[in-house]
């Protein structure tokens, strides 16, 4: 009953209260909008399923055995070339630069195959291993098994500017069913300014992919 009385006979004080209510309603609306905007903004920070399940990297440096628990990879050597000669003695040329990584791998418990690795520059740009060289010529071809090491090559085709400070990430082959938190080995190739300059300024003319 009190409420109807107030409405029928508004006093000065209740009118001021009504104005205050309208003001606070506007304020609430603005705050609400701000919250909605904030929620949308926060959404954009959310991880995609792929990012959330991204591989867990074990890091290491050139010449070091890097063990993920499931497999171990060691980068033995890094070279640069203008032309790579495949196992079938076919020359493959590039206008950029071929970075040839010689690596060895072994597995802890089960036979597995490595996927084609990625070369990652310090600014986070990544390059897949080149498909100009058949995968059968690379270390992705042989079984990586317990108790012994297998060695082979991976070849990247990159611009000379990508060489300095680059890392290579080795993982399992791509599959339709993506396993979350796959093991990955990330090796710093140890290419400081001087070594990078040496590689890019004097690449080998022909690099033969032959077992030494």
């Amino acid at each position: 009953m009190t409420a109807t009385q107030e409405r029928s006979a508004p006093t000065r004080r209740s009118r001021r209260a009504a104005r205050g209510r309208a003001g606070s309603r506007t304020l609430s609306a603005i705050a609400g909008l701000a919250l909605v905007a904030a929620a949308v903004a926060v959404q954009t920070l959310g991880l995609t399923p792929n990012d959330r399940g991204a591989p867990i990297s074990t890091t290491g440096s050139l010449g070091e055995d890097v063990d993920t628990g499931r497999f171990t990879v060691r980068v033995d050597k890094v070279a640069a070339a203008r032309t790579v000669e495949t196992l079938s003695a076919e020359p493959v040329a590039t206008e950029q630069l071929f970075v040839v990584v010689t690596a060895s791998a072994t597995s802890a418990k089960e036979p597995l195959k490595l996927g084609q690795p990625r070369l990652i520059t310090p600014d986070g740009v990544s390059y897949e291993a080149t498909d100009k060289i058949p995968a059968t010529n690379t270390l992705a071809n042989p079984w990586v098994q317990p108790g012994f090491w297998v060695s082979g090559f991976f070849v990247f085709e990159v611009p000379a500017s990508a060489v300095q400070g680059s890392k290579v990430a080795f993982g399992l082959p791509k599959s339709a069913l993506v396993e979350p938190f796959e093991p990955e080995v990330e090796v710093d190739l140890g290419l400081d300014e001087a070594k990078a300059a040496q590689l890019t300024s004097a690449p080998q003319d022909v690099y033969p992919l032959k077992k030494s």
Binding site: A108, K109, G147, P180
Partner: protein
């Protein structure tokens, strides 16, 4: 009357914590399941152990196998230092009419040592030609593997027979019920 504020905040807090726990739990469970499926840990397996030199008849097929170290592959290639090539001969024969359509190679073949480490097997030749086996006739699969020399005398062949049947028409491949794929054979040496 303003609503009693405090108990509601506690309730909302509890709700939020619970929702977070359920979300993280569900995601973790899903990830773990994918891991199990991907690594083959989810397969239901009944293992049959076969004594050395013996045969076993299972699901209309009779199986026999031999595993031995060989100095080199048929093309003369020698195994690298510290390792040995193994020659594996798996002989299968149809035990009855039903077995004559089971023409596929085993789905999974491995050599395993006592610690449970395993090595891949690559098939060199399978004697099965066409899509029918003769009852009782042995069909050998010749295969090779590379293992550390120290394990050459202990590794055992583990194989998973395929449940493929050659008499299922292609258009019915996805709708036909075949035997469950749930058996593994372990050949003792």
């Amino acid at each position: 009357m303003p609503p009693p504020r405090k108990p509601r905040i506690v309730l909302q807090g509890l709700g939020a914590v619970l929702a977070l726990a359920v979300t993280l739990g569900a995601m973790t469970y899903d990830d773990y399941r994918v891991y199990r499926v991907r690594t083959g840990a989810n397969e239901i397996t009944q293992t049959h152990v076969v004594q050395p030199g013996q045969a076993i008849t299972l699901k209309h097929i009779s199986w026999k196998a031999s595993v031995e170290a060989v100095p080199s592959l048929p093309d003369g290639k020698k195994a690298g230092p510290g390792t040995t090539y193994m020659k594996i001969v798996i002989t299968r024969a149809a035990a009855d009419q039903e077995g004559t359509v089971k023409t596929a190679k085993p789905g999974k073949m491995r050599l395993e040592d006592r610690l449970g480490r395993s090595w891949a097997i690559e098939v060199g030749d399978d004697a099965v030609r066409g899509d029918k086996l003769e009852i009782g006739r042995p069909y050998p699969i010749t295969a090779f593997a590379r293992v550390p020399a120290a394990q050459a005398q202990e590794v055992e062949l583990v194989l998973r027979p395929s449940n493929y049947r050659s008499d299922v028409p292609t258009e019915k491949l996805t709708t036909t019920h075949t035997d469950p794929d749930d058996v593994e054979l372990r050949f003792k040496r």
